[in-house]
């Protein structure tokens, strides 16, 4: 439970840091690097979300007797 709640803060932190990096890189004139940073940050966050969604769906399958 605690582990999961920490991940909410992690996601918010990644979001803020990515936004900062995006702004800085844009100011430096490296537009394409800024896009890549956003994309990679999003993929990392998406991986975390997909892990917990997978966990949730497995549990629902177990509880509600979905075998197939």
């Amino acid at each position: 439970m605690n582990h999961d709640v920490n991940k909410i803060f992690q996601i918010a932190g990644i979001g803020i840091i990515v936004a900062m990096l995006h702004t800085i890189l844009k100011q430096m004139g490296k537009e394409e690097y800024a896009q890549w940073v956003t994309l990679i940050g999003f993929i990392v966050v998406l991986y975390m979300v997909i892990t917990i969604i997978d966990d949730l769906f497995q549990k629902i399958r177990g509880v509600f007797l979905f075998q197939g």
């Binding site: 909410i8 918010a12 999003f42 917990i52 969604i53 629902i60 509880v63």
Partner: protein, 132 residues
């Protein structure tokens, strides 16, 4: 699980809401992932309790000599409803009302399909009762 856990759940919800508001200013995508994540965590929190309730229902059904296949169908229908609702709400939150409606439609249709064997049994029973 005790009554104090509702405080925990509300706390998680409020914190996630504030974080989502803060992040939404910069990157709306990350705010959306925070929403999804929080929904999943709260659901995971509750699923243990749902399991207890369902075990109790199964115990009652076996004591009342109801065939397990009917109870199983009802449980599956509840499960479909939960999953469809979860997906539809998240999708609607992200501003895709059309996809949310389709998810709900799929949930309703699947529930209908699961209920067909029971419906057929009822009709057959009624037909047997009728004098030929």
């Amino acid at each position: 699980m005790s009554a104090i856990d509702i405080v925990q759940i509300v706390g998680i919800g409020l914190i996630a809401t504030f974080l989502a508001i803060v992040v939404k200013e910069q990157k709306p995508v990350f705010a959306f992932t925070i929403t999804v994540f929080t929904g999943a965590i709260i659901f995971l929190f509750l699923i243990g309790e749902i399991q207890h309730i369902i075990q109790m229902l199964e115990g009652l059904a076996s004591k009342a000599n109801i065939e397990i296949i009917y109870v199983e169908t009802v449980l599956k229908i509840i499960g479909i409803a939960y999953i469809a609702e979860f997906g539809a709400q998240i999708t609607r939150d992200a501003g895709q009302g059309a996809i949310a409606s389709k998810i709900e439609l799929a949930g309703k249709l699947l529930i209908m399909a699961m209920a067909i064997p029971i419906l057929k049994l009822i009709i057959e029973t009624v037909l047997q009762l009728l004098p030929s």
